[in-house]
């Protein structure tokens, strides 16, 4: 019996979701980290009303990126350490289905953190962060970042210093996301028209990385 492509993707993402629903480890960890990070930024940057306007989009994205790094590390480490990755590779599944399944799980968790973070930041910073354009930008940014992150985490999980190496190897590659996403967010928050150009750039970068990661994934799992 051959599992269909979509069923395989859903099964892998569903498995991650089920593990999370039972343990509630990762999501709460990511969320608490995100809250702490917002708090730390408020103190460190001494965000008064004026400084807040300038810094809020940066705070949002740095927080999201570091929170998702936490999740990415764990998501692949648990597959690898418990031998589930080998089991997935033995199963008659397309490699891209495994990638999309893992990617969907990771993007879902980070997306959930973002969706909880946005209303909270609206309340804390007095800016409307629930603008549909902003929600869309956030989700597209997260999708691109998690695509790259899923590939990079699969790659670094087999190194000696995996937790330390993932951010080092991934941050420079992820900077195009950070740059465009921060600019787009800032544009939306200040009602500037150039947010569209930045958003398009962000979506373009996300698409390029998604395709590249999809093509390259089979090389980091097959040895």
């Amino acid at each position: 019996m051959k599992t269909s492509y979509v069923a395989a993707v859903l099964a892998i993402a569903g498995k991650d979701l089920r593990v999370e629903l039972r343990s509630r480890e990762l999501l709460s960890l990511m969320l608490i980290f995100a809250l702490l990070s917002i708090l730390v930024f408020s103190f460190a940057l001494e965000l008064d009303r004026v400084a807040r306007e300038e810094a809020v989009s940066g705070v949002l994205w740095v927080t999201l990126i570091f929170a998702s790094l936490l999740g990415l590390n764990r998501s692949l480490a648990q597959e690898y350490d418990q031998g589930n990755l080998d089991a997935l590779l033995l199963a008659p599944l397309s490699r891209t289905a495994i990638f999309i399944g893992k990617f969907a799980g990771n993007a879902l968790f980070t997306g959930l953190v973002a969706l909880l973070l946005l209303p909270l930041m609206t309340a804390l910073y007095g800016k409307n962060m629930l603008d549909p354009r902003l929600v869309l930008t956030t989700l597209v940014g997260i999708a691109g970042f998690c695509a790259l992150g899923t590939l990079m985490a699969t790659l670094t999980v087999k190194t000696r210093a995996r937790e330390a190496l993932l951010p080092v190897a991934m941050m420079p590659l992820a900077l195009p996301f950070l740059l465009t996403a921060v600019r787009a967010t800032k544009g939306i928050l200040t009602n500037a028209t150039e947010w569209q150009a930045w958003f398009q750039l962000l979506a373009g970068v996300a698409l390029i990385y998604l395709v590249l990661c999809l093509l390259l994934f089979r090389f980091v799992v097959e040895e």
């Binding site: 590939l151 790659l155 190194t159 190496l165 900077l175 590249l212 390259l216 040895e223």
Partner: protein, 232 residues
Amino acid sequence: MPRLLRALTIATVLGFAATLYLGLFAAGTDIQQGAVQRIFYIHMPAFFGAFTAFGLSLFGGIMVLAGKSADWDKLALAGVEVGLAFALINLLTGAIWARPIWNTWWTWDPRLTSAAIMCLTYAAYLMLRAGFDDTERRRTFMSVYSILGFVTVLITLFIIRIVPETIHPVIVGASPQNAQGSFEATSGVMLALAPSLLLWLTLMPITLMWHRYRLEDRLESLNRAKLKALSE
């Protein structure tokens, strides 16, 4: 040393001396910027040298993933190291030029930022490479990384066409409106620039990478000999 490599090395050294002479003495002094403009004859060619080296490492990575000989990985490594050195020369000379012209060593301009990102990406390549124990795994994974990393090279190359709010001058084609410290590519400038560009684009990276490749080759055979001696 192979005869061709020896010839290439001599040609590179002589060529470098010749382009230095052209840039430092033969080319006229820029009326507005003065002598500091001459750094440009190294600054821009160094970026294109890095482009060649990173491009070759991308090619090496693709060849490894295509299942070709493991030697391509050594080419990829040589490309990353040589390219990183060139990219750092590019950043450093740019900073020295910017100090008198822009009145600052560094500014978070899109083009400068993306060039710095490119350097960090390839620095991360070397860090990541050191993290693998298994050579076969390292070969495949670093090839994947070199393909992803090349995206940052392309971004650096094209960013001023996408994000026009730069103060970095463009020499070929029209400079952005707010470019600070630009100058015309007159025939005098081209006389010094063209040979230098040609040298950095071809001879410099190829010769240096060949030397680095040979070094890596020696290291590998040395390691093999060591393992063999230990096992006996």
